[in-house]
């Protein structure tokens, strides 16, 4: 099942609630292993929720460039009743923690970073050639901006005016060796994309209505590809995480998993009350 498969159906009545459910589901998915890419789910939960709230099921495409983020689309699809993610991350499972060719939900994902945007260009060219107006929602992480291929793709997209392309750039300032800005200065991120000829919206990536509005603004842009520079944190929305939690690969021992589940369940109940 991929989001662009004809006949696929889902509905998102409340994107904010879905973001919360993505967090809770992600905690439950990695709890059996005791570790995993929870930070990626926490920083991108609102973006993923906004994509599922904005995309036309069975038409639009979803590319998850950093395969480590696949937990977010899996969690969303599970919450929307599209897939059963039991066995996630276990030996023999199709739901590997870093996305593979067998990963459902997304139309394309890459474990080797910095390559997904180029794939999105291929989709955009093919769709334009066939007269389709399908949008290509493309998740990219800020760390990926260190890879030269991202900028090759950014140049190409602007030159070809691939306006159905929208990048959700998760600017969580997190990479394996530490904060991105301690490894490589990427700022000014928005000005860089703007200089490359993109329509840029710089925003709080945890503000669901803002992300949804930005996606709507991207849809209305008919000249340039769009990028949402989503300012986020790998710890957002989960207060029980210890202050020294490694955002790239969070350890979740049983006690912490129980606390996280209780915290998020409580927040969900409060939201529904």
């Amino acid at each position: 099942m991929h989001v662009s498969d004809p006949g696929v159906r889902w509905a998102v009545p409340d994107a904010g609630e879905l973001a919360l459910r993505i967090r809770l589901r992600a905690v439950r998915m990695i709890a059996p292993q005791g570790f995993g890419y929870l930070g990626q789910a926490l920083s991108s939960a609102e973006q993923v929720a906004a994509v599922f709230a904005s995309a036309r099921p069975g038409v639009d495409r979803l590319v998850c460039s950093p395969g480590h983020y696949i937990i977010g689309p899996f969690a969303a699809a599970a919450e929307l009743g599209l897939i059963d993610v039991s066995g996630y991350g276990q030996n023999g499972s199709a739901f590997e923690a870093i996305g593979t060719e067998r990963s459902p939900v997304v139309d394309y994902t890459c474990g080797s970073l910095g390559q997904g945007l180029s794939g999105a260009l291929g989709f955009a060219l093919a769709d334009r050639f066939r007269g389709s107006d399908a949008r290509i929602f493309t998740m990219v992480s800020d760390g990926e901006l260190e890879e030269g291929q991202v900028w090759e793709a950014a140049l190409f997209a602007a030159h070809h005016r691939l306006d159905r392309l929208v990048v959700l750039l998760d600017a969580n300032n997190s990479q394996v060796d530490g904060p991105v800005d301690s490894i490589t200065t990427l700022e000014p991120i928005a000005a860089k994309w703007s200089a490359f000829g993109w329509h840029v919206i710089d925003l709080d990536g945890h503000d669901v209505p803002a992300v949804c509005s930005a996606l709507a603004a991207a849809a209305a842009e008919r000249e340039r590809p769009s990028v949402l520079v989503c300012r986020t944190s790998t710890r957002h929305g989960l207060d029980c995480l210890p202050p020294d939690a490694d955002g790239h690969f969070i350890k979740l021992p049983p006690a912490l998993a129980a606390a996280a589940t209780a915290e998020l369940t409580g927040k969900l109940e409060a939201l529904r009350a």
């Binding site: 794939g119 140049l155 190409f156």
Partner: protein
């Protein structure tokens, strides 16, 4: 087969791609800033809607090609072989080979056929592509095979890498010669030596067999246009019928045809002395033209003759290879 010096053709690949694209609307053409050099200016002129300038961005181009193939198109990607393989290796592995997509990667200027120096010489492209699961690797010998290679690979369900000589392409085979992706072919029969050649080295192999034959050494020449999957049945049969096995490739002796043949005969338990003629684990410097490099780095007809003569323990000096002058527009192996 024809006799040297061979007549040559210009742009046999470019014309074949246009003909195939007339029949098949799913063929797209991508070029990495080497459109004339890879003969696809012909495609661009006739099918501008299906032509994409990838620019000098091979990584992006390979990943895009993978996505186009996911959408049901048949992308042919063009650049020099060295840039088609070394630069975007991870992209080819992840976006093309792993998902087993029908992307055709066409790399021009194989081995030391260019005066461009080590940066432009594809001396390890066969090794790199052969190591990727799902990849078919093709190195055709002449214009007759080049004319057929587009339609031959068009229906392969997975990815294909083709290395092609640039510029004047010799016509070695008769026009009725058929290129089979699944088959190596014994083009000269012999009893002492099994000489396996791919790509540009076929002409030199044929010349070497002729010289050795005149001195009583019987050489069978096997044309191996597809290095992966290797036609192991033909390789084993030819090797079994000889005292000595020799490979000839315009490529490093590591990882290409020589390695493929060695692995095949060793795994079959067929004990035969083996000599690999090719670049001996070196970059090739100091070039104005290809003949100089082929001679200096041991890829000449003389090198083949001397290698075989010595490996067989023949007495005295190896026979000299007569110089065969080629007029403009003709091709003789070095």
């Amino acid at each position: 087969m024809r006799e040297p010096p061979y007549p040559t053709e210009l742009k046999p690949y470019g014309r074949a791609l246009v003909e195939e694209a007339r029949r098949r609307a799913d063929i797209w053409c991508l070029s990495g800033d080497l459109t004339k050099q890879t003969e696809v200016d012909l495609f661009q002129a006739e099918f501008p809607d299906r032509f994409i300038h990838g620019g000098m961005a091979e990584a992006n181009m390979m990943s895009m090609a993978g996505a186009l193939a996911r959408c049901g198109f048949s992308p042919f990607v063009h650049t020099f072989g060295v840039f088609a393989t070394r630069r975007p290796y991870d992209q080819i592995a992840n976006a093309i080979a792993y998902p087993n997509l029908p992307v055709r990667i066409i790399g021009f200027m194989p081995g030391v056929s260019t005066p461009g120096g080590p940066s432009h010489q594809a001396i390890d492209d066969v090794a790199l592509m052969r190591a990727l699961p799902n990849m078919t690797v093709v190195d055709v010998a002449d214009a007759v095979e080049t004319r057929q290679v587009v339609s031959a690979i068009a229906d392969v369900p997975g990815p294909v890498y083709v290395r092609l000589k640039r510029g004047e392409i010799p016509v070695i085979f008769d026009d009725h010669h058929l290129l089979h992706l699944g088959r190596a072919s014994v083009v000269v029969a012999g009893t002492d030596v099994a000489l396996f050649a791919s790509g540009m080295m076929l002409a030199a192999a044929l010349a070497a067999a002729r010289v050795l034959g005149s001195r009583g050494v019987s050489v069978s020449v096997v044309n191996v246009p597809v290095i992966k999957p290797l036609d192991s049945a033909t390789v084993l049969s030819a090797a079994a019928g000889a005292r000595l096995v020799v490979t000839a490739e315009n490529h490093s002796i590591i990882g290409g045809l020589g390695s493929a043949v060695a692995e095949t005969i060793a795994e079959a338990g067929l004990g035969r002395p083996l000599r690999r003629v090719g670049l001996r684990d070196t970059f090739a410097e100091g070039s104005l033209d290809a003949p100089y490099l082929l001679d200096r780095y041991g890829l000449s007809t003389s090198a083949l003759v001397e290698t075989i003569w010595s490996a067989l323990g023949q007495p005295g000096a190896a026979p000299a290879v007569p110089v065969l002058a080629a007029e403009a527009g003709e091709y003789s192996p070095v």
